[in-house]
Amino acid sequence: MFTAERVADKKDWMSGETGDWELIIGLEVHAQVASNSKLFSGAATEYGADPNTQVSLVDAGMPGMLPVINEFCVEQAVRTGLGLNAKINLFSRFDRKNYFYVDLPQGYQISQFEHPIVGEGEIEIQPEDSDAVTVGIERLHLEQDAGKSVHDLSPTETYVDLNRSGVALMEIVSKPDMRSPEEASAYVDKLRGIVRALGTCDGDMEKGNLRADVNVSVRKPGGELGTRCEIKNVNSLRFIREAIRYEARRQIEIIETGGTIDQETRLFDSVKGETRSMRSKEDAHDYRYFPDPDLLPLNLEQSFVDGIKANLPELPDARKARFIAEFGIPAYDAGVLTADKVTGDYYETAAKGRDGKIAANWVMGELFGALNKEGKDLEDSPVSAENLGGLLDRIADKTISGKIAKTVFEKMFEGGGTADDIIESEGLKQVTDMGAIEAMVQEALDANPAQVEKAKLNPKLLGFFVGQVMKASGGKANPQAVNQILREKLGL
């Protein structure tokens, strides 16, 4: 299913001394299963606990200890597989990946090598300023995380924290279907949206709960595939883009100066913005995979899979389609509003039973702007979706104008509270009393006789009087009413 034939958009080509180059990118994303206990033990998985406080005898590799599969984690892997439109393998098996390291207490990692729980699937991504791209999923398998080695607490010692040891990870392997840094980050972002919507992973990249190994190679557009390098453990969308750009440039320079690319594993240094060699292919471990004899193969019932399928939540793509249909918003807006479960839920609450387009503008404009400025996440928004909806109601029933609404919103954002409370306490209610408006209009006309004559000849100057009246009313006069009365009085 590898779409080697697909050639990148010309805008994504990188130019070198010898002409243009195309990037071929595939990703292995490690997503930590949102589970309270580990893949093969009952130990807790809470983030940030004191070192070595969440370690069972199994996780510490004590003699005679045996792994027992956590069914919840299996269910999450199946859910995720279904969310990736992928084949669920009713038969799968755990293998041991053998190597020595201080943070690997058993001397092997339990993973799924030959028979993963999830097979091929695909997702559609929408990179910014490009057409949608379909990215193939090669497989998803379950495996244990290792512990953490801490090298910087002492000049001579390495400290080991086994809290992560045994934590369940889903490794999601893409096909090499991406052709630009933007496509790669859009893919990870999409994956993140899917696992968050499913609730199978919290997608928190800062905590390392979702991280990517990036495989990059370059070729002449449409030409022979090059040798790839793998960049390990990149943990933000920006770093993914930066690492790919740096790595592609590095490979192009080597090839163009007559060198060859060595297949190797590299690390991304986010401070220096460069990748550097970690180990070459020759140094690669022989992991001596073999089926873990402590565990039986996983044999799932089709009914188990069907049960999970029947209870899947709405996924970002489906929600996007529904938002377009239900709220009449453009595809782009719908994409932004459904990229994330929290955003989608917020928007849906604010827009329900209201003008969807106006709601979208408010969420993506005022709200996102204010949150960005404050460096806040939507979860921490001082304006709840319900309260934003309340504000939209007051605009709709003309209690306030759109302009006043912005003022009300600012106050809501600063101090919380409902739009009604703020309109009331600040006296911002729109003046719709025609008598009062007419008096204000007359006052403005009387005060500016010269302008009246000019306006009669050039109706474009009407705006001057609208401004005068709005000023006099403190912005509360209904602008449509002001316009209408003005036109009547000026005989326009």
């Binding site: 005898l57 003699p63 001596r288």
Partner: protein, 488 residues
């Protein structure tokens, strides 16, 4: 009072129930016997003080009417079972003074049933061996002796020697390729390896996970049934544990075998097998016939591949299972220049030559480029061997074979010849590869006056038939010989 150490487990339990003696009395009698038998080197660690406390507690429970399946019986535990707060070594230096903060499920069951633990019994290092000579705590000496000191078999040599010498009423053991049955045969004791999955492996130091299975070594077939009934049972902490009930094994030991079809696998007649063993086997056939069984010749055509397959699968799993002994979290460590150097020094010092050999064989057969030719083929052989048995069960209910191809041999005779040593397992590994129950019953003495055993192999989960056939065999053989007590 007669010598309480001469009792069987069954009669000891009966004696305590009748109030003839207390657990404390029979425990002290066994502790005295253990101390006299120091030359056998059967124990790595004794827990005599703990045993007396447990015996007193058992007597107190009995006074209140609470009586478990093993109430008050002084027993030994192979030092491969983790025992909470009691040093557990696997007979290896690499575990150092490791004291587990947990208890194996099998010994947990036995403690709950009233076991009194006399100590931790010697074995081949990590259960790798057939003579108990690979123990880093010194070899065990067989209580049976002719001119020279003999090996007790292995790997459960300490368990077998201790039971044969009457220094404990019974003992736990484990069997990966014959480690219960071969030492039982070498010491004139009964040893049963149950169906794979009957006894939980939780808390037993792993050798080869897909083959390891715990079982008892005992003085009689019925004693072995009493012990197994306590040891076995479903354990959710072991994913390969079978969620099935125990059979009525104790009663099965006395069941008639009239009409039972006993298969005689022709492939178990091997070149170079002593004539005495062949004739004992023939004798066994006659005994079974006399007891009313029907004798059926059967064929297990892949038998000759069993031993090579075993010596690929077992080391492969062992090489991975033993990776955790890296000197980082527990056990012994030899510091080096850097991490790899520390690993190398620790493991070079901690593991004996046989363990190192098997780790290297196992690492080799799992390596890229060799995996298909060795490990994968061995697994295919394993499937074929299981099919052989399945086909045999079409025409018979259990198999009768010799337990091993020789009588106990002299200490030092084979230790430098691994291949000859490995041949000891030729009749026992098939049951491990196929996960079937097998029992060794002492049947006769050879011309040198040394014990020889016969083996019954049964269908998976059909221990009832195995015990019935073994009971009949025991009755017919009427093996009453005891080793001459030379060790005091």
């Amino acid at each position: 009072m007669s010598d309480l150490t001469q009792l069987t487990l069954e009669s000891a339990l009966g004696g305590m129930a009748a109030g003839d003696f207390t657990s404390e009395e029979i425990t002290i009698a066994h502790i005295d016997a253990c101390m006299e038998a120091a030359d056998l080197n059967a124990f790595i660690t004794n827990t005599f003080e703990l045993a007396i406390d447990q015996a007193k507690a058992s007597d107190a429970r009995r006074a209140k009417g609470a009586v478990g399946k093993l109430e008050g019986a002084p027993l030994g535990v192979k030092d491969l079972f983790c025992t909470e707060g009691v040093k557990t070594t696997a007979a290896s230096q690499i575990l150092g003074d490791f004291k587990p903060p947990y208890e194996s499920s099998v010994t947990t069951n036995m403690k709950a049933d009233g076991m009194v633990m006399l100590g931790k019994l010697n074995l081949d290092e990590f259960a790798m061996g057939s003579s108990n000579e690979t123990s880093s705590y010194g070899n065990v000496v067989n209580p049976w002796k002719k001119n020279e000191e003999l090996v007790p078999g292995g790997s459960s040599g300490g368990s077998a020697a201790a039971v044969a010498a009457d220094i404990c009423l019974g003992a736990t053991a484990t069997d990966t390729g014959g480690s219960i049955r071969q030492p039982a045969s070498f010491t004139g004791t009964v040893g049963i390896k149950p169906t794979y999955g009957r006894c939980s492996r939780f808390g037993i130091v792993a050798f080869a996970s897909s083959l390891d299975q715990a079982g008892p070594i005992a003085k009689t077939v019925k004693d072995s049934a009493i012990l197994l009934d306590s040891m076995a049972g479903y354990d959710p902490k072991d994913s390969t544990s079978l969620n099935v009930d125990n059979g009525d094994w104790i009663a099965s030991c006395e069941k008639s075998i009239k009409g039972m079809r006993i298969g005689i696998p022709k492939e178990y007649t091997v070149d170079g097998m002593p004539a005495e063993i062949q004739s004992l086997w023939d004798q066994g056939v006659e005994w079974m016939k006399d007891a009313g069984a029907e004798i059926v010749p059967v064929s297990l055509p892949h038998t000759k591949y069993a031993l090579p397959a075993y010596y690929i699968v077992a080391p492969a799993e062992a090489s991975s299972n033993l990776a955790r002994y890296d000197g980082m979290r527990y056990g012994a460590r030899v510091d080096g220049e850097n991490l790899n150097d520390t690993y190398e020094r620790t493991r070079a010092a901690g593991f004996g030559p046989e363990v190192q050999r098997r780790i290297m064989i196992g690492t080799y057969v799992l390596s890229a480029g060799y995996y298909d030719a060795y490990y994968l083929r061995a697994q295919k052989v394993r499937t074929r061997i299981a099919e052989d048995f399945k086909n045999a069960w079409e025409s018979c209910d259990a198999l009768l074979t010799p337990t091993c191809p020789s009588a106990p041999f002299a200490i030092g005779r084979k230790v430098n010849d691994p291949i000859t040593m490995y041949l000891n397992d030729i009749f026992t590994v098939t049951a491990n590869l196929a996960g079937l129950p097998g029992i060794s019953v002492p049947a006769a003495l050879d011309k040198n006056g040394l014990p020889l055993g016969l083996q019954i192999i049964g269908k998976a989960l059909d221990e009832d038939t195995v015990f019935a056939a073994a009971g009949a065999l025991e009755k017919a053989a009427n093996f009453t010989a005891k080793p001459e007590k030379w060790w005091t």
